[in-house]
Subunit: 340 residues, 2 copies
């Protein structure tokens, strides 16, 4: 099993991929989660499993359900309940992706044409609804009303975050604080719930449940910060991600918010044109990349991500050291460092 | 209190409106349900209550939550749980309406411009998701895992029905059987669950729970059959409904399926053009109305609705007679007869 001795690692060539290491460790449980996912995707309405599989089998890394599974193992709880909740978490996430593609009019998802481009917006909306409903059926099977409450609250928080993000599109005045609130809601809330529910169904004391929730939330923040950095980064190609989506959609993420805060008069005019007015021409995205680098906005975003990853790691300190804890700690570093 | 002695009433002028009668009877409980709805609509993200209220306050009749409330009263269960479930049912229904408007690209909803035309598809999708998530938070508060299971299953069934309806658009070969399966899923499942959950939280024996479920399902089928008839009926104007939406969208509802089944060669060519190829010109809708009338397809649809309404009424026979049972029975007749 892979283990990383230090949280500060200079470059990725020196270290193994902690996400793969965790995936290997969680392999057996994740196979059971995958079986649950495929089983509950099933419907006599053929389009539903067809469309949902297109997305689910496109090679998503299952980070969120893996957190539920790994956290349950870390605290020594081996039961079917966390596996069902893990599947439910992935269903919520997949439903969100399907609806996001409609909302953002995205072109690509997980390296393939977005489902709404293949089957249309209507199908994406409805299959998202189906997955969302099925996620709650899975939670019912898991049998914990408290876990259900945490996940349903997370689901409404996600929607709030998405609506807020929508209102913030083309708004060059988005503050760092607003941005952090948006990503806390749209991304970190589900990571937090994914970790917390494993403590709930294992009936752990409140401080452990809170520690798990903190781990998930901080990891989720790190994850989204890096995702937003990658949209302006040369490292995206090797991760199979496209760059410039946020830019084209006029989303003011942290790299842009920081670059705008540091902008000269002439640069402010640039951001006004490309973000606020949405008038983009060839070469604008390259200029945006140059500006987020010049002002250190990209580096500052990654530094923020690393700070959150460190807090995620620290939150696990109250648990007994074991290979699962190490794997979750390493995952936090990996998430923050994948930008380079 | 209004009471109707017979299920067979020739015309509406002779009878009071049973939906209004039930609304008066359930007034106090429904005020508490409305308070719950408004409370749980709340969000620091202003667009959410704004958009949701636009729809919820547009004067929907709250038929589904009223069924939950009335059924609970009929079986003598006065508690907060059915009120919370009633609010949850209305949230699921409203979320479905918001998403339907995106799916159907409808222009009008409850006599106003559809929300997606005012705020855009993205907002309608996300606010629908928010309401859907909140509905589950309300169910958690109601405290019954079984009720939660019934409602989450209903929610996935609704999505299945909507997807199936989507696949059936422009399909002149839709059979009566397929049509009935679609409306059973997209409409009757939620009516059934709305009634059944009141029996669940009141801890009633299985036969009573089944009777409630049957009442809801049969009522839902009658409701949808009449809705589909009204799309081709002169009675729509006075109900504040627009006509021709299904026709323009190429939806093959029962009136059309029956008219197609009885069509001459020339009429078959007409349906092929206007439904299968979607080539509609002025006067086509009037011709469609004429054809569904000529072949008795509209009358047959209403007859079917009345049959289901009768079954709904009969399902309640196992309960002790009281004013609530009478009101629910009358509601079934009203739903079937509002077409004229």
């Amino acid at each position: 099993m892979v283990s990383v001795k230090s949280a500060t690692v200079a470059n990725s060539a020196d270290r193994p991929n902690a996400a793969e290491a965790l995936a290997r460790l969680a392999h057996d449980d994740m196979r059971r989660v995958d079986a649950l996912i495929l089983e509950r995707l099933d419907s006599h309405v053929e389009l539903i499993p067809e469309l949902a599989r297109y997305l689910i089998e496109a090679g998503g890394k299952r980070v969120r359900p893996m957190i539920t599974v790994a956290a349950a193992n870390m605290i020594g709880h081996s039961d079917i309940a966390p596996l069902k909740l893990a599947a439910a978490v992935e269903f919520i996430h997949t439903a969100t992706l399907l609806h996001d593609d409609v909302v953002d009019e995205s072109g690509m998802r997980r390296g393939k044409a977005a489902a709404n481009l293949v089957w249309g917006n209507a199908s994406s909306v409805l299959v998202g609804d189906f997955l969302f409903a099925r996620s709650f059926s899975l939670m019912v099977e898991a049998g914990s009303m408290r876990a259900l409450g945490v996940l349903s609250d997370a689901a409404s928080t996600i929607a709030e975050g998405e609506v807020r993000q929508l209102s913030a599109v083309k708004d060059v005045g988005v503050s760092v604080e607003t941005y952090m609130q948006i990503i806390d809601a749209k991304t970190a809330a589900l990571f937090a719930a994914a970790a917390q529910v494993s403590g709930i169904v294992a009936d752990r004391p409140a401080n452990e449940e809170t520690a798990l929730e903190t781990y998930g939330r901080e990891l989720g923040l790190a994850f989204q910060l890096v995702d937003d950095a990658l949209d302006y980064s040369g490292a995206s190609a090797k991760l199979g991600k496209s760059t410039g989506d946020d830019f084209r959609e006029g989303k003011v993420t942290l790299p842009v918010a920081l670059a705008i805060a540091a902008a000269s008069t002439e640069e402010t005019a640039f951001w006004d044109r490309v973000i606020a007015r949405g008038e983009q021409v060839e070469g604008d995205f390259e200029r945006a990349i140059s500006l987020v680098n010049t002002h250190g906005a990209l580096a500052a975003t990654v530094t923020q991500a690393r700070n959150h990853a460190r807090r995620a790691r620290e939150a696990l300190a109250i648990f007994p050291a074991n290979k699962w804890r190490t794997a979750l700690e390493d995952l936090a570093d990996f998430v923050a460092d994948r930008a380079y």
